[in-house]
Structure formats: structure tokens, C-alpha cells
């Protein structure tokens, strides 16, 4: 029964976010602050992960493609499609669930426990609109951007590894990148990143906003938020792939 109650409270929280801002300027300021926290704050880890994922994909693909009948440029094609379809949106979003999600949950949890949310309510501010809406909006703007950056860096990482390890020359890798390119793959990755961005921001916000107790509960809420977000990301990944990819 708890799961139904949680779903109900989650939906009411989402509904409660939509109200006229008390002061648009303050909401905009908070939105920009969240964009900085979620976007710029996660850029470093996203860049590192993307480059290494691309590099490892290249090496492992080359390791598995042993047939002389397969042209070497195929390695670049496989790396490109794997990075665009799966690694950039899904893996990066799982990492972001840990980085940005836990931050959102602990920030709101701390505000709840230390009565800062109550203080805002007393002032007559819609806390769901002021605290949660800018986070979700910022995630919806910044996470797809991070995913695009991850795609580029992943493919670049693959090229660096291919050249550095002597797997294939750079020119062959570049040629492979342009072969059989399907633009819909990028659109599909962006659709996924929007869905994941909503999950990454709204689920931790829910667990943080409704936390009860003290510091220990904030930690628990943060962990639970990350776990639930990751599971939902994987579930949504499967559903979107089944629905949108022609098989």
C-alpha cells in the first residue's frame, strides 16, 4: 500500500508545482542557480566518464572483431552507435542520478529537517513551485546538453584510443563514423535524456521534500532516491527502446 500512497503523493507534488510564481525574478534566479549546479557542476564527471567509455568501447570492439572480412571502419560505426544509443544517455544519466540526484534529495531533506521549508511556507511561498520546479526545469534543460557533450566526447575518446593503441588510423575511424549514420539515433537519445532528466530531478526531489526525522533519514532518503532513480532509468530505457526502435 505504501507504493500507491507514494505514487499519489508524488503526483500531488508534481501538480502542486504548477502555480503562479510569487515573484518571477526570484524563480528565474533559482532556475539559473540550479542550471549551474546541475549542468556546470556535473560537467567534469560527465567528461571523464564519456572519454573513457568511448576509449574502452573502441578497444573492446576491436578485440571482438577478429574476422578479416569485417572492415576496420566498422569499429568506429559500432562505437558511434553504442555511445549515441546507450552509453551517453543511459550511463551518463545513471551517474547523474548519483551526482545531481543525491544532491537534490539531501538539499531538500536538509531544508525540511531544519524547518527551512516550513519557514518558506509561513512566508506564503509555494515551496513545491519555488524549490522543486526550478530543479526539474534546470534538469530538463541541462541534462540533454550534457548527454550531447557526452556523445561527442565519447566518440572522441574512442578515436584517441584507436589511434593511441594502433587499432585503426584516425582517418579510417573518421570514415567509419560517417558510414550508415542514422540521424534518428540522436533524436532517440535526446528523447531518452529528457525522460531520464525528469526522473533524475523529480524522484530525488520527492524523497528529499517529504523526508521525516533527522540527519540519518536525510542520508537514507538520498540513497533511496538514487536507487529508485537508477531502477526507473533502466526501466524507462527498456520501455523507450521497445517502443521507439524499429526491430
Amino acid at each position: 500500500m505504501t507504493i500507491f500512497s507514494d505514487i499519489g503523493r508524488y503526483l500531488l507534488m508534481i501538480k502542486g508545482m504548477f502555480s503562479k510564481p510569487e515573484n518571477g525574478k526570484m524563480y528565474w534566479k533559482e532556475f539559473i542557480h540550479q542550471c549551474t549546479e546541475i549542468g556546470y557542476g556535473s560537467l567534469g564527471i560527465v567528461a571523464i566518464i564519456s572519454i573513457f567509455i568511448g576509449a574502452v568501447s573502441t578497444i573492446q570492439t576491436a578485440y571482438q572483431l577478429v574476422s578479416p572480412l569485417i572492415p576496420p571502419s566498422t569499429i568506429a560505426q559500432i562505437v558511434r552507435d553504442t555511445v549515441i544509443l546507450e552509453f551517453a544517455p543511459t550511463l551518463v544519466c545513471i551517474v547523474l542520478a548519483g551526482v545531481a540526484g543525491s544532491r537534490i534529495a539531501s538539499e531538500l531533506g536538509n531544508m525540511r529537517v531544519s524547518e527551512q521549508i516550513d519557514a518558506l511556507e509561513i512566508m506564503g511561498i509555494n515551496t513545491k513551485a519555488y524549490l522543486i520546479m526550478p530543479k526539474i526545469a534546470a534538469a530538463l534543460l541541462m541534462i540533454p546538453m550534457l548527454v550531447v557533450i557526452a556523445m561527442v566526447l565519447g566518440i572522441m575518446g574512442g578515436r584517441i584510443a584507436a589511434v593511441a593503441a594502433g587499432i585503426i588510423p584516425g582517418i579510417v575511424y573518421d570514415k567509419g563514423l560517417l558510414e550508415f549514420f542514422v540521424p534518428f539515433n540522436v533524436i532517440f537519445a535526446l528523447i531518452k535524456s529528457y525522460v531520464f532528466a525528469f526522473i533524475i530531478s523529480s524522484i530525488p526531489a520527492f524523497y528529499g521534500y517529504f523526508v521525516k526525522g533527522g540527519a540519518l533519514e536525510i542520508g537514507r532518503a538520498s540513497t533511496k532516491a538514487v536507487v529508485v532513480s537508477c531502477v526507473l532509468i533502466l526501466f524507462a530505457d527498456y520501455i523507450l527502446s521497445a517502443l521507439l526502435l524499429p526491430t
Binding site: S114, Q116, D118, A119, M123, G124
Partner: protein
């Protein structure tokens, strides 16, 4: 003036407040006292709208707050300032930004004007300009309370709520905070509701005192009447400290004529506060 009419509140099967009614007057420090778990915080949270009471009404200047919808409630809330037990200052904002926050949200004044107002209220709570750029983590407990009080009064609210303003403070700082609350209440003719179990506060600022016991209104009166109350539960509560127990013993000796009553306080009390004759001094039956 705030009128509380027949408020009931329960969480699941646990009834926390059973049918409490009282009137909190303007220009006075109205205290809700009681031991931990007596329901005073829940009553205060019902009054400010953080909890929805199961039954009863809260009236702000005759307007039924409990029956109001979202936007109407917001209008009343703009007239409410609250000092929280843990101060509830925003960690990511410095003192100036914390105090300016309600002004930024609800006024369209220029930055200069808002800054003037911030400095004015900070000066009112005896905080110098050099704290403006400090963050809450850099402040002492007493300073945090003062900043929170400054933030609570920056929009000139009609109603001021204080939840255990002295918790975690030394007696001297507590006294300063108490006096500050009392002065501000009189200066701005606010209806102040203070939730406390600190007997020093009770004696210092209690213009009206509501004593709660297990979710019920057990006694009401003022800080002069409380010391002479015959209510056993209230006596157990107020004379819990050794110092006050001595005072109680002295009172008994005076009453039995074993020592002369030089202070003649009871007579003084009758003269000074004839209007506060609403106290229910009936001792509990069980």
C-alpha cells in the same frame, strides 16, 4: 487578535490536541506552555497553517483561516512572521540575503531601500553591520535567533510566532531574546504567540499564558497569577526546578503564616490584574 476555537488534531490513532480554545490578544506576548509532548508545537503549527486541524477554527482578526483557500491563506501568511526553534535560516544565503529574502519575494523596492530596511531590522535586534556578510554557520546560537527574528519582522507582520525561542541558549541570552520579543510586540502592536517551556520566559513576558497538558487546555492566566495557581499539574510543571521549589515552599510558609508575607503579592495581584480572572484553578480530579 487570534481566536482558536475547539481545535482538535490527531495523527493516525494518536490524538495530540483535544478541543482547545483560546484567544491570543494583540500587543501582548501570548505564551503556550507545557511539558514535551503536551501538544503546544502542534497547536502552534495548526495556528500558522502548517498542519490542518481535524476540527475547529482559527480566526485571524475575525477571518476564518482554516476555511480559506490557497491564495486567501497566502495573504494571511504574508502577515505572519515566525521564529523557529532551530532558527531555520537559509544555509546558502548570508545574513543580509536571509533577512532580505521576504523583501525580494514580496516587494518591488529598490535594492538600496531593501538594504536600508534590512539594516534597520538588524539594528533593532541589536546586530551590527559587520554580520551582514556572514553565513549562518558562522553565527552563534543567539545571533542566529536574532537574525531569524529580524527576518520574521522585516515585512512588519501583524502576527509573530516563536517556537521555543530560548532552546539551546544560555540564560543571559535567553533573557535578551525574551525582552526583544516583548519590546517588538509592544512597539509594533503585534499578536505574539510564544511556545515555550522555559519558566524564566513565562515570568518575564507572559501577558497571557495557556498551559497545555496532554493535548488539553489545563489552565490559562498571566505571569502574576501562575505562581499562585492551585492547579496541581501546573504546579508540578512550574515548580519542577529546585529554585522554584524553594519559592513554592516560601509561598506555603507565607500562606500558613509561618513567615510574614512582606511582599503581600496576592493582594498586589488582585489590584493589578482584575481583568485576567479567567484562570481555571480547579485541581485535577484524578
Amino acid at each position: 487578535m487570534i481566536e482558536v476555537k475547539n481545535i482538535k488534531k490527531s495523527f493516525g490513532d494518536k490524538v495530540v490536541i483535544e478541543d482547545v480554545s483560546c484567544v491570543m490578544k494583540a500587543g501582548q506576548c501570548n505564551l503556550i506552555i507545557g511539558s514535551s509532548g503536551s501538544g503546544k508545537t502542534v497547536l502552534q503549527k495548526c495556528m500558522v497553517g502548517l498542519f490542518e486541524p481535524d476540527q475547529g477554527e482559527i480566526l485571524y482578526g475575525g477571518q476564518n483561516f482554516t476555511a480559506m483557500k490557497g491564495t486567501e491563506k497566502t495573504e494571511i501568511r504574508k502577515e505572519i512572521g515566525m521564529l523557529f526553534q532551530g532558527s531555520a535560516l537559509f544555509d546558502s544565503l548570508n545574513v543580509q540575503e536571509n533577512v532580505m529574502f521576504p523583501l525580494n519575494m514580496f516587494t518591488k523596492d529598490s535594492f538600496k531601500k531593501k538594504l536600508e530596511r534590512v539594516n534597520e531590522v538588524l539594528a533593532r535586534v541589536s546586530l551590527a553591520d559587520d554580520v551582514n556578510k556572514k553565513y549562518p554557520s558562522e553565527l552563534s546560537g543567539g545571533m542566529k535567533k536574532r537574525v531569524a527574528l529580524a527576518r520574521a519582522i522585516v515585512l512588519n507582520p501583524k502576527y509573530l510566532f516563536c517556537d521555543e525561542p530560548n532552546s539551546g541558549l544560555d540564560p543571559q541570552t535567553s533573557l535578551v531574546i525574551d525582552r526583544l520579543i516583548q519590546e517588538i510586540t509592544k512597539e509594533f502592536n503585534m499578536t505574539t504567540v510564544v511556545n515555550t517551556h522555559d519558566m524564566n520566559s513565562v515570568m518575564e513576558i507572559g501577558n497571557y499564558i495557556l498551559y497545555m497538558y496532554k493535548g488539553n487546555k489545563e489552565w490559562e492566566g498571566n505571569n502574576r497569577e501562575i505562581i499562585f495557581s492551585k492547579n496541581q499539574r501546573l504546579n508540578d510543571f512550574i515548580f519542577a526546578s529546585e529554585f522554584l521549589q524553594d519559592a513554592k515552599d516560601m509561598r506555603m510558609l507565607e500562606e500558613t503564616g509561618k513567615i510574614p508575607n512582606h511582599r503581600n503579592m496576592e493582594e498586589m495581584l488582585r489590584k493589578d490584574a482584575p481583568s485576567m480572572g479567567t484562570s481555571s484553578d480547579t485541581p485535577p480530579t484524578n
